[in-house]
């Protein structure tokens, strides 16, 4: 081991954006506008370079034992933070394969989006404020992923929430935008509370919040019993925290509104990084989820439902960013679906590919908005002729998200869907545990005999239903995704222009600082998935194992949870089934594209007819299943009512009765006492004399 302790670069990675944020935030208003750009971009760029150096060190540092590569982790303790008795928390950072990818996403895509923002926000007067927030966001996000214990992660968790609030409400003079920011913040707080409680429960049972220590407790045969009973509750609570940050049912309502912020912000925060922090956190704590199958099942169901309902709402959106927002909700649902069926690798793979293509799509939409100054796709069309680069890259993004073969989304989505069908065991570990030798043997290094026997375990019916159910929902969603994405593409870039000529004459391709990030992201969105090929292709075509890079990279992190899916439902060599599943999902995706082409390019009158036929359904979808109205009725209205009641109590009882009453008593007493202080020395002397007489009388016991 080269670096056992104190790997300083980790501190630098997080520090750079903070410095950038402080410079721009404190004196940015007085700096030249060009310098603000340079500071913001270079701080995150430096952070990206330090990330690369650190990951290189992590790889160099790895120990090779036989075929296996043990990466371990690099860590850096900045300082001792809270120490009280046995309890101790440091500001400590840790770099392992899991963090590595997030680091590259945050700093890499972050850098591209900073670069893009230079062009996009070029006419914004308060550009320094924007860049300061954006850098601060990167800092918080880096804290979140680098944290060595749950508390550091929590600081980052709150920090990204706060920055998200600041950036959504960046144009705060617009009331609707300010309100959207507040909504995001409040909804997130609901989840954060659950996360905190989950963390407290874990701490109460184990006495530590350090990931490494917790993992040891949760996976060590001797100490597992102490954490097993609360694992379910803690996982669910932490998952509720994730539903807030990652916009899952029931807390997804803030994400569509968050599109009020500047478009690069939507790309960075509300597509690529912050919203995936929930997936990251659950992956970080995979050993905890693994020993609570009920929690896994909940995560899988919520994820699948979110994916499906998000996609249905995206079908009817006419706002270019609205489609992408609901699409993000839906894709995040996929990631949680993957987590729920124990395919943490699939979830993270999708986090990565989604970050590529969704950041690309958002930046593309930003480029369009920048050009035609509207977000309504009904007023667009045919824009490919004026902005070919944007259109081309956008098409790549659409193909990637639709799972077009050999684009990045194809690899990650198929891994998830395949996992959903095959990993039924994960949802049924308790059954496995009860049938076999119990928790202990399963979670130590030897796989349980019943599993290696190859599907000899009775699969619990519920687990089978849930596993297949989420898989089917996932496939349907894949079709919907392809459909609404290409609907968006065709309505924006193909066909005839539907807006007014005046706008079209001003429409233009965006400046190079905006097009370059688009091109880089398009490249990544197209080829980023080649790091994790499906097993059956590698196996059948005898391709090198290196094509499974993504899976191997995470093998060590997900060692515990992977043990449960060594053999899935379809035996040890499920390649045929895997190929079938892949074929189905590709077929569904292509069908979606085909229908989108027919409906929005060939026969544009069809959507109107469909809409007329299913008017009620269309209305429900446009009104987003009335979730906002429901929350309004259930929480907002009652909160306002309660607030009014409390205001009355405060004004009349507290202020009126207690505070003003006390003041009134004082005033009255003062009025009486004032008469005593007349300035008449003789009267004072009388008081003194009376006082002396009284004191003496008391002293000698005449009165008591």
């Amino acid at each position: 081991m080269l670096y056992t302790d104190q790997f300083y670069y980790l501190g630098l990675i997080a520090l750079m954006p903070l410095i950038g944020a402080l410079i721009n935030g404190l004196i940015g208003a007085k700096l030249p506008r060009k310098l603000v750009d340079v500071i913001a971009c270079s701080s995150i760029g430096l952070s990206f370079m330090f990330s690369l150096i650190s990951i290189k060190a992590l790889v160099d540092n790895a120990a090779h034992i036989g075929d296996e590569t043990i990466y371990g982790h690099l860590s850096y303790t900045a300082y001792q933070w809270i120490y009280a008795g046995d309890f101790g928390v440091d500001i400590a950072f840790m770099l392992d394969p899991l963090t590595s990818m997030m680091l590259l996403l945050i700093t890499g895509i972050g850098f591209l989006i900073h670069l893009y923002s230079v062009g996009y926000m070029s006419e914004e007067p308060a550009k320094w404020r924007y860049f300061s927030y954006l850098n601060l966001f990167c800092f918080s996000m880096l804290l979140l992923v680098l944290g060595k214990n749950m508390l550091v992660t929590f600081i980052g968790w709150e920090g990204v929430g706060a920055c998200s609030y600041l950036l959504i409400g960046f144009w705060y003079t617009d009331d609707a935008k300010a309100a959207a920011g507040q909504k995001a913040f409040i909804v997130n707080r609901v989840g954060d509370f659950a996360f905190l409680v989950g963390m407290f429960i874990l701490f109460y049972e184990t006495g530590t919040v350090d990931y490494v220590a917790l993992k040891e407790i949760a996976t060590d045969a001797a100490s597992m019993a102490s954490i097993a009973p609360i694992a379910g509750v803690a996982s669910i609570l932490i998952f509720i925290g994730c539903t807030g940050k990652s916009a899952q049912i029931p807390l997804f309502v803030w994400l569509p509104d968050a599109m009020a912020g500047p478009t690069p912000v939507s790309a960075l925060i509300h597509a690529a990084t912050m919203v995936t922090s929930g997936v990251f956190l659950l992956s970080r704590m995979n050993w905890l989820l693994t020993i609570s199958p009920e929690a896994m099942m909940v995560v899988a169901i919520i994820g699948a439902l979110t994916a499906f309902f998000g996609a249905t709402m995206a079908l009817v959106q006419n706002d270019i960013k609205g489609v992408l927002a609901y699409s993000t909700v839906s894709q995040l649902g996929y990631m949680f679906l993957a987590v729920g069926v124990g395919s943490f690798t699939g979830a993270l793979f999708h986090v990565m590919t989604h970050a590529f293509f969704k950041a690309l799509l958002f930046l593309g939409s930003g480029s369009v908005i920048h050009s035609v100054h509207t977000q309504d796709i009904r007023e667009m069309g045919g824009l490919r002729k004026v902005m070919p680069w944007t259109a081309g890259t956008f098409l790549v993004g659409c193909m990637a998200i639709s799972g077009f073969p050999l684009m990045s989304g194809f690899f990650s989505k198929d891994l998830i869907l395949w996992s959903a069908f095959s990993n039924v065991h994960v949802l049924n570990i308790k059954g496995v545990l009860e049938q076999n030798i119990g928790v202990i043997d399963l979670l130590t290094n030897t796989p349980a005999p019943a599993i290696t026997a190859g599907g000899a375990v009775d699969v619990n019916v519920l687990a089978l239903v849930v596993g297949s159910g989420v898989g089917v929902l996932g496939v349907i969603t894949a079709g919907l995704t392809a459909f609404y994405m290409f609907r968006l593409y065709f309505m924006t870039f193909e066909g005839e222009y539907r807006g007014d000529e005046e706008t079209l004459s001003h429409a233009h391709e965006s400046p190079p600082t905006m097009v370059i990030p688009l091109a880089v992201l398009a490249f990544l969105a197209a080829f980023g998935g080649l790091t994790g090929w499906p097993h059956f292709i590698v196996h059948w075509l005898h391709l090198p194992e290196g094509l499974l890079f993504f899976e191997h990279w995470y093998e060590e992190i997900f060692q515990t949870s992977n043990q449960f899916r060594i053999v899935g439902r379809f035996g040890a060599k499920p390649y045929v089934y895997e190929a079938i599943a892949t074929a189905i999902s590709v077929g569904v995706g292509l069908t979606g594209i085909f229908f989108a082409h027919r409906f929005y390019l060939v026969q544009p009158e069809v959507p109107g007819r469909v809409k007329a036929k299913f008017e009620k359904l269309h209305q429900v979808l446009t009104d987003k299943y009335y979730v906002d109205e429901g929350y309004d009725l259930a929480f907002v209205k009652s909160s306002i009512k309660a607030g009014e009641g409390l205001t009355f109590f405060d004004k009349n009882i507290l202020d009126g009765g207690l505070v003003n009453g006390a003041a009134q008593i004082m005033v009255s007493c003062g009025r009486i006492l004032r008469n005593m202080q007349s300035g008449d020395v003789q009267r004072y002397a009388t008081y003194i004399t009376l006082g002396v007489v009284l004191s003496l009388a008391v002293l000698y016991g005449y009165i008591s």
Binding site: G679, D680, Q682, A685, T689
Partner: protein
């Protein structure tokens, strides 16, 4: 048998004189009368000093009473001068009228 005044009698007399003085200070408004009442109080204290001095057969009390007389004389000089000025200014020695310094 002749009346022998004891400690009790002296102290009672001093206390009564003192109380008359205090009462005068509290209720009278004429500056000269006030002044006399203060003298009365001082002298009653002097009487107490002398009484105890005699009773305890040491000279401390005597010394104190001389001090008191000296201070009282000085005070009388200053005080009467002030009263005289007040009278010249106001044509009255009523203390209630000398309240111009009050806020």
């Amino acid at each position: 048998m002749m009346f022998e005044p004891t400690l009790f009698h002296y102290l009672t007399l001093a206390a009564m004189t003192f109380c008359i003085g205090v009462f005068g200070v509290l209720v009278r408004r004429n500056a000269i009368t006030l002044f006399m009442c203060i003298e009365l109080m001082l002298n009653s204290v002097n009487l107490t000093f002398i009484t105890f001095s005699k009773y305890r057969v040491d000279m401390d009390g005597h010394i104190f009473s001389f001090f008191v007389m000296a201070v009282a004389a000085a005070e009388a000089a200053v005080g009467l001068a002030i009263i005289l000025h007040v009278f010249r200014h106001k044509r009255s020695v009523n203390v209630d009228e000398a309240n111009r310094l009050k806020l």
